[in-house]
């Protein structure tokens, strides 16, 4: 077993990552050891990143233990970069986290300056040049080779012609150098997209009641809706994030099927969402920042109200669908959509009703014909015991389903539906022969024989659906 990471106290005792545990114990007998769990570390980092969303919408992870915050245009709340950094460090310190920060023109420069210590320098360019070559982030072998060649700092490497470095250490080394010199861009992979419309409220004194938080939320929604109104848009995806003083962040999302600018509707949905939470909203020591993002907005022109007042029918229906979807989950409120397949159980899909309906083409029933498809479909089909199938290709005279024997009085068929042989090549798919049958008491069933007599010895019979 080897040491994966050490804290400040251990580092001062001369322990370094990579040392075997036995060696470390021999040097420091009273060592506290914990099992390394990289996944839990990453999870923790994610949560810190969530908390840092209070400073800027663009937060990126630099695993295993770094965060990159793009604070361009975000410092006005703190009157400068340094008070902002002080606030970050104070919050981290409250949770027992030792943090080190650095500012840079690009993420790569800030990253290198935060991780590596060089000689003091008057400005950023020179500070970068004085960093050790390890700051380039090359593999150990390359770093050692550079050091052996007498190139101790980043500045030394930068002075060399790049062609030589590319020839010796590859294109990766050149990119690393260009990044630190600010010539190459470092893309920041933000954890979330910046919402086009957002409203937020900061509190000097944290608010500790959910009711007050909801009232603030309603105000924020009003502000956001004003913006939407100016843009002739309505919001479809809304997210509220409640930042607690202790750094935890709770987020609630609601989605509507139609773009909306209705505060009352929105608040109703948020209340539904809160009611349906597994563990209730816990303000802890209070929220000091509440932010409402509209992640998706769509065009919504002003609508004319009905003559006798009230909304139109479709709007009310859409509101109901949104309400039920928020409480029960999107996948529980569904609509039918046809699919271009001919196997009955695969011929249609059920899609969330909040999603925009697709262009639909249902087959029109033949005039004068009785219904040829059942209203209930068993998936998988239910096995029935068929007795006395008359002629080989005919329907059974009677069958047993769920412990009841049904005498077939009338039947129509077969409607032959072949398996989708172009989808599976390994085994032949039996053909199904469907029959519409009616028993003597008037119940109508959809049954099929799985396989032709030429395909299988004794084909099984199944009940697939029930007619009205």
């Amino acid at each position: 077993m080897r040491i994966a990471a050490v804290d400040l106290a251990a580092a001062q005792l001369g322990l370094v990552p990579g040392l075997t545990l036995a060696d470390a114990r021999a040097r420091v007998p009273q060592l506290d050891v914990f099992a390394s769990d990289p996944h839990a570390d990453l999870d923790w980092l994610e949560r810190l990143a969530d908390g840092c969303a209070r400073y800027t919408p663009t937060v990126a992870l630099a695993p295993p233990d770094g965060l990159i915050l793009d604070i361009a245009g975000c410092v006005h709340e703190f009157e400068g970069e340094r008070p902002l950094a002080a606030d970050v460090e104070a919050r981290m310190a409250r949770r027992g986290i030792a943090a080190r920060h650095a500012f840079g023109d690009t993420p790569a420069i800030a990253h290198a300056l935060a991780r590596f210590a060089g000689a003091p320098a008057p400005d950023e360019r020179r500070a970068i040049r004085r960093l050790p070559v390890a700051a380039l982030g090359l593999d150990d072998e390359a770093s050692v080779a550079l050091t052996r060649a007498g190139l101790k700092t980043v500045g030394d490497v930068m002075d060399r012609p790049l062609a030589g470095i590319a020839a010796r250490f590859g294109a990766g080394a050149v990119t690393a150098i260009r990044r630190l010199s600010g010539e190459a861009k470092t893309p920041v992979v933000a954890r979330r997209n910046i919402a086009p419309i957002a409203a937020e409220r900061r509190f000097a004194e944290p608010i500790a009641h959910s009711d007050v938080a909801l009232a603030v939320l309603a105000e924020l929604a009003g502000e956001a809706i004003e913006t939407l109104e100016r843009r002739h848009e309505g919001g479809r995806r809304w997210e509220v994030r409640l930042f607690r003083t202790d750094g935890a962040v709770q987020s609630l999302r609601v989605e509507t099927g139609q773009p909306t600018r209705d505060v009352a509707l929105l608040m109703r949905l948020f209340r539904e969402r809160i009611d349906s939470l597994a563990d209730p909203l816990d303000p802890g020591f209070g929220y000091d920042l509440i932010r409402l993002d509209i992640a998706l907005a769509e065009r919504l022109d002003a609508t004319q109200l009905k003559l006798e007042g009230g909304q139109s029918q479709t709007a009310e229906m859409a509101a109901l669908v949104d309400q039920l979807s928020t409480r029960l989950g999107r996948s529980r409120i569904r609509r039918f959509a046809p699919r271009d397949r001919h196997i009955p159980e695969q011929a249609e899909l059920m899609l969330p009703a909040t999603a925009a309906p697709a262009v639909e083409s249902w087959p029109t029933p033949e005039p004068g014909e009785p219904p040829l498809r059942p209203i209930h479909l068993f998936d998988p089909p239910q096995r029935i015991e068929s007795m006395m199938a008359e002629v080989p290709d005919g329907p059974p005279r009677r069958f047993r389903w769920r412990r009841t024997v049904h005498e077939v009085a009338r039947a129509e068929g077969p409607e032959r539906i072949a398996g989708e042989w172009w989808r599976r090549h390994d085994a032949p798919i039996p053909t199904r022969d469907y029959f519409r049958v009616e028993d003597q008491r008037g119940r109508r069933f959809w049954i099929f024989r799985h396989g032709l007599y030429s395909e299988t010895e004794t084909p099984a019979w199944y009940l697939h659906g029930l007619f009205a």
Binding site: L324, P363, P371, D379, E438, R443, R444
Partner: protein, 256 residues
């Protein structure tokens, strides 16, 4: 134009099921009068084997009345045990799938909660609440709540009680639906959906009438099957499997 038609629509809401479209025969008139809009109606399939018939009858009713959109609430258990709903089958009954939303809920408590919310939504035409077996939570209180919501919003609530015995409820009417042999097509193939419908109970009016009707999808109405004027119970060949004694002869009003 649009507003005025909406106004007419709202006025019509108080009237019985689709008065404008004039009933074609006495049976239909009866069905329309009995199944008033903005009320709660119970459709019983006393025998669980008639569940599909009662379900189909409910859908056909909504289509006949033009009370769309339709929201259909059912439990996961119903989905598992009684099969899923097939959109193509509803199209064959004359329904436009775009006017239909299906909600599946975890249990009976969720069913009633969702139903209570949906019954309050005036944008809805028909609300179908599907329940199986005894369903003890659907009691006088729950049905009263649904009834009040329906009266306020104008939604017609059809409560499907499949495989259940009648229990006390606040519904305006209670119907028993059974499947009957259809009029065969020329090749002796099963014909159009046919039902025997019995008015088991009606608030403030006589009950006990029975009809045999056939659903005509193309014309969107229930056609009476020959020899099925509203007769008194005993002579009717309908529902031969059920003891006529269980539902005494018309006209009677029974509590519960």
């Amino acid at each position: 134009m649009r507003e005025s038609s909406a106004l007419i629509e709202s006025l019509r809401r108080a009237a019985p099921f689709g008065v404008s479209a004039g009933a074609r025969d006495p049976v239909e008139a009866w069905l329309r009068q009995g199944l008033a809009r903005a009320q709660l109606h119970e459709l019983y399939a006393l025998d669980a084997q008639d569940a599909a018939a009662a379900t189909g009858f409910a859908v056909a009713l909504a289509i006949a009345a033009g009370a769309l959109p339709l929201l259909w609430i059912r439990t996961d258990d119903a989905e598992r045990r009684h099969g899923r709903i097939l959109g193509a089958g509803l199209v064959e009954l004359g329904m436009a799938p775009t006017a239909l939303v299906i909600a599946s809920v975890a249990d009976e408590a969720g069913l009633l909660r969702a139903a209570a919310d949906a019954a309050r939504c005036a944008g809805l035409g028909t609300l179908v609440v599907e329940s199986h077996d005894r369903a003890p939570r659907i009691d006088l209180t729950a049905t009263r709540r649904l009834m009040l919501a329906a009266e306020a919003s104008g939604v017609t609530v059809l409560l499907l009680r499949l495989g259940a015995e009648p229990t006390p409820s606040a519904a305006t009417t209670r119907w028993g639906v059974t499947a009957i042999p259809s009029t065969p097509l020329p090749t002796d193939a099963p014909g159009h959906p046919s039902f025997a419908v019995e008015l088991l109970r009606r608030r403030g009016g006589p009950a006990g009438a029975r009809w045999r009707v056939e659903w005509k999808r193309d014309d969107r109405y229930f056609a009476p099957i020959a020899d099925s004027a509203p007769l008194s119970g005993a002579r009717l060949p309908v529902a031969a499997d059920r003891a006529a004694a269980r539902h005494p002869r018309a006209p009677v009003r029974r509590a519960g």
